[in-house]
């Protein structure tokens, strides 16, 4: 019985965090996003060099074949660093879709390229969660038509995996003729979601997803777990910054952290977030070891981290007083990262409903 990170996992976490600390500082992020860049070349190359893009991809397909807990640790570190890289869509959701729904040939073609960073995938599954500004996506005669909204990592993608109205998933060349992509600018400039319109575009069906929703659900679950981990990292940084500010900032001749009101705000944030870490770890762990538990847990991790994340983003900003409201300390980058995470792949009320359904309730 050991519910803890292994030595290797701590090392992985340290190496990713260490790299990002040195190479993906707030200044770096600011510079990048100022130019509208959501896949920052240096950082992308850096984490590619760390060999983690193929974190969940089998060794024989060029990956490092580690587990989802390892992947969640990376996602958490990227959230901490508000790193502008297309990790969740390209390195997690797309491989999950391919591994669970793809043919051998599809896996052999694409997974090594994902692992090497040669190809970036975007993933469009939103319509299968909650359809809004679209009539969905139809597949007919091997061609896709329709509109996919909020495609994760879609702006920087070379290739796309798109779920059609039946829940079947397809590989599509993001630059094929008949594909029209637009970046949808959100509050979070460190990542971009895309609108992609298909006009009778050649699509390569993932055969395992044709009559089975499992590959799609596993793809969504994987994305949700990583988003939860990303929010965990981002919220953790906000607490650390608030505590540090409260230890430094003086008002009424005292550091504000010595006032019970501020102290308790910090204590509440920390005690709300700390148990979330265990939920994220456990949930990620189930993907490999107890997959029958994953669906319900992935929903809970996503929804609960959304709630706790929102609350911490607010309180941490309040602890900073007016300074938190400015761009000077950049706190709002984390605020907005958490804000995007909350809505991506289902806002909390919807996801909780799925958690209930997953238990047959």
């Amino acid at each position: 019985m050991e519910f803890a990170l292994s030595e290797e996992q701590v090392m992985l976490q340290d190496s990713v965090s260490g790299y990002l600390k040195g190479n993906c500082s707030l200044d770096v992020v600011r510079q990048g996003v100022a130019g509208g860049i959501t896949k920052q070349a240096d950082v992308w190359q850096g984490i590619c060099d760390l060999g983690i893009l193929g974190i969940i991809i089998p060794g024989e397909l060029g990956g490092v074949e580690l587990g989802f807990l390892d992947a969640a640790l990376i996602a958490e570190a990227l959230g901490r660093a508000i790193a502008p890289v297309p990790f969740i869509g390209s390195c997690i959701m797309a491989p999950v879709a391919l591994l669970n729904g793809g043919s051998e040939q599809q896996k052999e073609t694409w997974l090594p390229k994902i692992a090497s960073g040669e190809v970036v995938f975007g993933v469009g599954v939103t319509e299968q969660i909650a359809r809004r500004e679209t009539d969905g996506i139809q597949c007919s005669g091997g061609k896709l038509s329709g509109k996919a909204m909020f495609v994760v990592d879609g702006v920087d993608a070379d290739m796309l995996i798109i779920a059609d109205d039946s829940g079947a998933m397809h590989i599509v060349d993001a630059n094929a003729s008949g594909v029209t992509r637009r970046a949808l600018q959100t509050i979070d400039k460190t990542r971009a979601v895309a609108e992609v319109v298909f006009d009778s575009v050649e699509a390569d069906l993932l055969p395992g997803s044709q009559n089975d929703k499992e590959p799609l659900l596993k793809t969504i679950d994987a994305g949700r777990i990583m988003i939860a981990a990303d929010s965990l990292g981002a919220a953790q940084v906000m607490i650390e910054q608030a505590v540090a500010y409260a230890q430094e900032r003086k008002q009424f001749d005292r550091v504000i952290g010595s006032f019970q009101a501020v102290k308790h705000m910090c204590a509440e944030m920390a005690s709300d977030l700390e148990p979330c870490r265990s939920l994220v770890w456990y949930t990620a762990h189930t993907v490999n070891d107890m997959p029958e538990e994953t669906r319900m847990l992935a929903c809970h991790a996503k929804a609960h981290l959304s709630e706790v994340g929102r609350s911490i983003a607010k309180i941490a900003t309040e602890v900073h007083g007016g300074m938190g409201f400015t761009d000077l300390l950049g706190l709002h980058y984390w605020f907005k990262r958490v804000g995007l995470n909350r809505q991506l792949l289902g806002s909390p009320e919807l996801v909780r409903e799925e958690a209930a359904l997953a238990q047959g309730w």
Binding site: R132, G322, L350
Partner: protein
Amino acid sequence: MDLAYSERHQVFRSELQQFLKEHKDSAPKGRASIGKASDEAKQWQQLLIKHGYAARNIPKKYGGYGAEFDILESHIIAEEFSKSNVRPGHSGDERVVPVLLELGTEKQREELIAPTISGEMIWCQGYSEPGSGSDLASLSTKAVLDGDEWVINGQKIWTSGAQHADMCFCLVRTEPDAPKHQGISYLIFTMDRPGIEVRPLVTMTGEAIFNETFFTDTRVPKDGIVGKRGEGWFVANATLKHERGSLGDPNQTESRFRSLVELMKNETIDGTPLIKIPAYRDRLMRLQARMLTMKYNGMRILTAYLKKEEPGLPRWIVKLQGCELNHQIAALAIDAMGELGVLYEDSPYIRDAGMWQKSYMLDLGLIIGGGTAQIQKNMIGERALGLPKEPKYKQGA
């Protein structure tokens, strides 16, 4: 309890409604911008003053309409402009004009009020400093009298509109040896002087609503003081009170709530309007109840003012409750839109021009600004409930 208005006020209201109907097309669109008024805005303000719907209670000789103050008239004006979504006029600058009227010299009033009301003269406020936020009275920007001039050194923050401002009203420490509340003076001066540097301060919304303003040996005339030396804290408090008064205005909350309802009727998930999806619907109803409590609470405050009574607790809680409620209304709007709710700036598909995300952040700024929620709770606890202040502690302990 009599919620009907007097004959006179009913007439006043219907005249105003008539006026708005006739003239609303000449009103500038959108919110007033910080900084210089456009010609269109100035003309609109002139028209409003002429009809007594702006600067209504400012004496004629200072450029106002010159009516006796009547709180119900003010209330009706605010309500009708809000309902019809027409940009209201103003009474100059609500932070400084009341101070000048009450405590300024006749010369100051004559020179400053009229251009302020007309929109020719723009003001910025120099109160907060990087080191003095909640503890404003600890401010350290100094002014030393040198002949006929004050020489100012220090830094102010949150000086909104400073880059456009003609004038500054500013709290400075002139009596360094006095206790902190008694060493402050209230100065007014033009912003075109050497030694004033304004640096824009970008906020989380991405806009530079505020500035940092630096004073280096800035010389301003000696007679630009309101009240006496060392009385600045008390001069300023009248305006601070006024500023806090407008945060959490229930009219605005109600109008926001109505927009939220519209949004939830129009936005759909898999074809179902959000207002029909129970978990969102329940949140909407919770917020409606709170919105209504604040609306009627506002009526209670208004009544107290009408009776020349201090409203007490109902007044103390407006900022704390109102700003938080606005924030939660925006939060529900964002959740109801889902991914559409995080779109920003000029994104396609953005709803209501992105106002919900902007409000969500601005409201958080307002929860913090003008007295943080924590300071509000101290005040409510101590002043309204009579709980003791924190005891004095040993210096250096």
